[in-house]
């Protein structure tokens, strides 16, 4: 419970920095990144509180600015929708309604809905239901997480006592469950039909990050202070078990990432440590993690490393949600560059055909457009 008290004493900026999925949220130019779930479009939140939306089919790069858009901690595109972007800000959740056909580079702040609830700030995590109907928002100081009906701006508070606020949310891709991490050594898994939850105490520290398998039956998570990845499996979701989360009794360790020496092209290197953030690709065949303090994400089980440019550290990682030829990993580097790294593989048909090492990473920025606003 100490960490709960600590989190209350932190200023909101420190709190966002501590709980954000970005490695160096306070100092890096890129603070949040989000791929659109259906198209080649992504949004990048920058240090100056503006958000850029890049689209592969259009040269215009809208820049979103709003009076309330301060200290962006997370962003999420609404699924089953053309262009609605939810932004977790210091005091509220902003929902931008962008016109996908518009050529304007500065959408007016009238395009943004403001969702705020007293006591629910700063917002550090957002998750849309995969069916696109509800939005979840979480704040480390609010013990309740909010379920929003964005169209009518109404919210329902989901409260469960103990454990402080909620720092990180992850909705399983099949829509059946939600992971909610707290600032204390406990996390919860909510079942998304009747909204009951299972409580999972961890041994060492708070749950830092987590990700779901595409069918929602397996949860991988990491704990602050441990360099292992845990796995938690859930009984298959059939919809008839109303109000049961159905988690297994214990979590098992699936990967140990403690420091080891690797032979790399650049000589021997010692790599390993705590996991800061972790993403699983939509086919379920690649997992990317950022190891705290290291320059390289890593891909078990056939691990490979991605090295950035000299001095650049990975800041955020994300998989393209619908890359047809395999998986496309996007890495935001501390230098402000964003690189897209494709992995070409054929899905589950040839499980062992993928090479020992992933294909040679393509380094460098794909887009040469300036990442800073010209203010």
């Amino acid at each position: 419970q100490l960490s709960v008290l600590l989190s209350l004493q932190l200023t909101s900026e420190d709190m966002i920095a501590a709980f954000s999925q970005a490695v160096d949220w306070a100092g890096c130019t890129v603070r949040a990144f989000a791929w659109h779930p259906h198209t080649n479009k992504f949004a990048v939140a920058l240090l100056d509180d503006s958000i850029r939306v890049y689209n592969s089919n259009s040269a215009t790069v809208p820049s979103l600015k709003h009076r309330l858009q301060r200290n962006v901690a997370a962003m999420a595109w609404k699924p089953l929708c053309a262009s609605i972007l939810a932004v977790a800000c210091q005091s509220c959740v902003l929902v931008w309604h962008l016109d996908p056909t518009s050529l304007s580079t500065r959408p007016s702040s009238g395009c943004a809905q403001v969702l705020s609830c007293p006591g629910h700030s700063p917002v550090t995590s957002l998750a849309w239901a995969p069916s696109g109907e509800r939005l979840l928002s979480a704040s480390p100081v609010d013990t309740a997480m909010l379920v929003w009906d964005v169209s009518t701006e109404t919210c329902v508070q989901l409260q469960w006592f103990g454990g402080g606020g909620v720092t990180y949310l992850a909705w399983s891709p099949d829509g059946s469950k939600v992971l909610a991490a707290t600032p204390s050594a406990v996390f919860r898994v909510w079942e998304a039909q009747m909204w009951t939850c299972e409580r999972w105490p961890t041994i060492r520290g708070r749950c830092q990050t987590g990700c779901w398998s595409p069918d929602g039956s397996r949860l991988l998570f990491t704990v602050l202070g441990e360099s292992v990845i845990y796995s938690l499996s859930f009984s298959e979701y059939r919809g008839e078990m109303q109000g049961q989360v159905g988690g297994s009794k214990t979590a098992s360790i699936v990967a140990d990432l403690s420091e080891t020496t690797f032979e790399t092209l650049y000589g021997e290197e010692r790599i390993g440590g705590e996991v800061h953030s972790m993403v699983w690709d939509p086919t379920g065949e690649r997992l990317a993690v950022i190891i705290r303090g290291e320059a390289c994400p890593l891909f078990p089980p056939h691990s490979g490393f991605v090295r950035g440019e000299r001095g650049a550290r990975p800041q955020l990682i994300s998989f393209h949600p619908c890359f047809p030829q395999g998986a496309l990993l996007t890495v935001c580097w501390s230098s402000g560059k964003i690189s897209h790294i494709p992995f070409f593989f054929v899905g589950a048909l040839e499980p062992h055909a993928s090479p020992r090492r992933s294909p040679v990473p393509v380094l460098g920025s794909v887009r040469e457009q300036p990442l800073f606003s010209e203010l």
Binding site: P100, G132, S151, T152, W195
Partner: protein
């Protein structure tokens, strides 16, 4: 036959009550069970004595077991039951929204509402009487012996009026009446369905803090208003009681209808506290009824026994049950389509002998007819708005719905064809209109081509039913020159007679009445314009634009569920529908959704229509009916995207009009 119909209706209503019966019973039981807890809290708080805490607590606990407290609890249980009965009789799933101030006044003086207010005032009086009894002290009795005056030594003790007691009773009546009035004005009889499913206990617990806060604040407002009222009119009941019961006024005590009399902190505290107690117990009964009534109900898709046929989801959707049952059925449809693969499989299944997809046909037909009803209503509203603005009507021909002639549908089976025609016919009408009434309005439209005119003529002649069914609508879609009364008459005359010949006959017959109606209509308009120039009358008559829009969308919750259910089922059918039953209806579904999408888009471009929902404060009173249209717009778009995302390029093979094909392409490219 009429008696049979009535009998069936009663049977249906009874069945509705059956589903509701146990919910109501449980809600009432819980609110009665919670009453002793509220009473205990009230007794403890009313004996508040911060300087002697031990004595205060022990006294309050001793009071709890006394016989009069138990009697009061019994009496108030009766009150709760009566309040619950009123909740049950007055509930509505579709709120009635008064569009003008006059309508609101009309609602307030409606006999039903007057009875509601009267009974609530009596109940309020009863509760405050119980409160005075439980508070004890100086408030307890109406008649007390007067303080003996000095000097005079007549031994006859006189009975005096205890004004505090009267004040309490009247405050209870006032609170009860105010509660009833606010119940009406805030549409508290409206049953809003929650945006997420939760267990009843959790929903209750979530609302409890709000309920307590709301009762405290409301009670404060009501008591303040009551004090003001009593200050001005308090002498009337006082004098009346004194004369009827032959009581005297105590000259030693301050009369309460003066400023110094009302500035009594203890009196104010106790009035406020009993107000909070009254409102809390009533709100708890109201909240529990709301929670129980809106809980999702599991309807079977296929009957396990023959006598259960009436309780199946397809049957209920297609019959005309009480609205609440229909809402629950649609909610269940939405839930099953989203969460339950097993029940979805039942929807897609074929009937055992015969192999007909009865379940899917019934469900999709009902959803589509709901959605096309809404489309029709919106078109009518847009026309009215355009007429009110004094502009030319929007060219209805923009709605390029393909005329679904049997030739176009020949690739489909006969059965689905019938379904299609039944569900599509209301959509076809608007597109037929420009051809018949205003041929010059859109020359570029494909519908004004002579070939198509000819084609439709053929249809009209070939099938005798097309004539009578469609022509009244065509008349109605036309310029509104005559009142709805004549419309109805014409409808009636059409229905009772045979097609082509009789149409001509009624035409000649209708000339005379039509003239009279036009004249009457003109007079009515003249009177209206005359009256509307008088400012005061204008104030009462003027329609509030926001309210009328809310009224149009007041039952949109049904349409939202129909959209969600239908789109989830269609999306699931891509992998789960073994027999391809959904495919046959897919063109009709896409047509309906796309047409509705156009109409809804156009609605939000009307003047006076805000594009953003108003801010809703997190209060106990639910105003979600005010924002239903925004929810409808969002779920319509999501529903279309759900279908296009799952089907992807396959949708190009579906037969829809070129206009809709373009629109679908936009959806496929995520550009809507």
């Amino acid at each position: 036959a009429a008696r049979a119909v009535i009998g069936r209706c009663q049977a249906r209503r009874r069945r509705g009550r059956c589903v509701l019966g146990w919910r109501v019973a449980a809600a009432i039981t819980w609110s009665v069970l919670l009453l002793p807890i509220c009473t205990a809290a009230f007794i403890i708080l009313s004996g508040l004595d911060p300087f002697h805490p031990v004595r205060w607590i022990s006294n309050s606990f001793n009071d709890l077991y006394t016989s009069y407290v138990i009697f009061c609890i019994f009496l108030m249980s009766m009150v709760i039951i009566i309040i619950s009965i009123f909740n049950i009789e007055f509930y509505a799933v579709v709120p009635s929204i008064p569009c003008s101030r006059l309508a609101l006044i009309g609602k307030i003086i409606h006999p039903q509402q007057v009875i509601h207010s009267f009974v609530h005032a009596i109940m309020g009086m009863l509760v405050t009487w119980c409160a005075t009894v439980m508070t004890k002290g100086r408030f307890q009795f109406l008649a007390v012996s007067c303080t003996p005056s000095e000097g005079l030594e007549d031994a006859v003790p006189q009975m005096c009026l205890n004004e505090y007691h009267l004040f309490f009773l009247l405050s209870g009546a006032f609170l009860g009446y105010s509660y009833s009035l606010f119940y009406l004005i805030n549409n508290m009889n409206y049953l809003p369905f929650p945006i997420i499913q939760q267990y009843k206990y959790l929903r209750f617990r979530r609302s409890l803090p709000l309920l307590i806060k709301h009762s405290c604040v409301e009670s404060l407002h009501f008591v303040r208003n009551f004090c003001v009222t009593y200050y001005f009119f308090g002498y009337i009941p006082k004098v009346w009681i004194c004369t009827t019961m032959d009581l005297h006024t105590d000259g030693k005590l301050h009369p309460l209808d003066t400023l110094s009399g009302l500035l009594d902190l203890s009196l104010f505290y106790h009035t406020w506290l009993s107000g909070v107690f009254l409102l809390m117990t009533w709100y708890i009964a109201w909240l529990l009824f709301k929670i129980y009534a809106t809980e999702s109900h599991h309807f079977p898709i296929q009957p396990t026994f023959a006598q259960e046929t009436d309780q199946c989801l397809p049957k209920i959707l297609n019959s005309n049950p009480p609205l609440l049952i229909k809402f629950l059925a649609l909610q269940d449809l939405m839930l099953l389509s989203q969460y339950s693969p097993v029940r979805r499989q039942e929807v897609f299944s074929l009937s055992q002998p015969g192999g007909h997809p009865h379940n899917w046909t019934a469900i999709s037909r009902e959803c589509l007819s709901l959605l096309s009803d809404l489309t029709q209503r919106l078109i009518a509203q847009q026309e009215a708005a355009a007429a009110a603005n004094g502009r030319a009507k929007p060219p209805v021909g923009e709605l390029k719905v393909p005329p679904q002639t049997p030739e176009d549908m020949s690739f489909q089976s006969q059965r689905s064809n019938i379904v299609l025609r039944a569900s599509m016919s209301p959509l076809v009408k608007p597109s037929l209109m420009p051809v018949k009434t205003s041929p010059g309005s859109d020359v570029g439209s494909p519908f004004s081509s002579p070939a198509l005119n000819y084609k439709m003529g053929v249809v009209d002649i070939k099938s005798p039913w097309h004539g009578p069914v469609q022509s009244p609508h065509v008349m109605r879609r036309g310029p509104k020159l005559w009142t709805s009364v004549s419309d109805q008459q014409m409808n009636g005359s059409h229905h009772e007679s045979f097609p082509v010949l009789s149409a001509a006959r009624t035409g000649t017959e209708a000339v005379q009445p039509r003239f009279i109606y036009t004249w009457l209509q003109n007079k009515q308009e003249q009177i209206k314009t005359f009256l509307s120039k008088r400012a005061l009358i204008m104030y009462f008559f003027s329609k509030h634009p926001e309210a009328s829009i809310q009224a149009v969308f007041s039952d949109a919750q049904m349409h939202i569920w129909a959209l969600e259910g239908l789109s989830h089922l269609v999306a699931a059918s891509f992998t789960e529908d073994q027999f391809g039953v959904v495919q046959t209806t897919l063109p009709a579904i896409l047509n309906t959704l796309l047409t509705l999408q156009e109409v809804v888009d156009r609605h939000f471009k009307l003047p006076h229509v805000s594009s953003k929902p108003p801010r809703i404060s997190g209060s106990l009173v639910d105003t979600s009916y005010k924002t239903l249209r925004f929810a409808l717009r969002a779920s319509l778009k999501t529903a279309l995207y759900r279908i296009t995302t799952v089907f992807g390029e396959h949708l190009n093979a579906v037969q829809v009009s070129t206009e809709h094909k373009k629109r679908l392409q936009q959806f496929l490219e995520y550009k809507e």
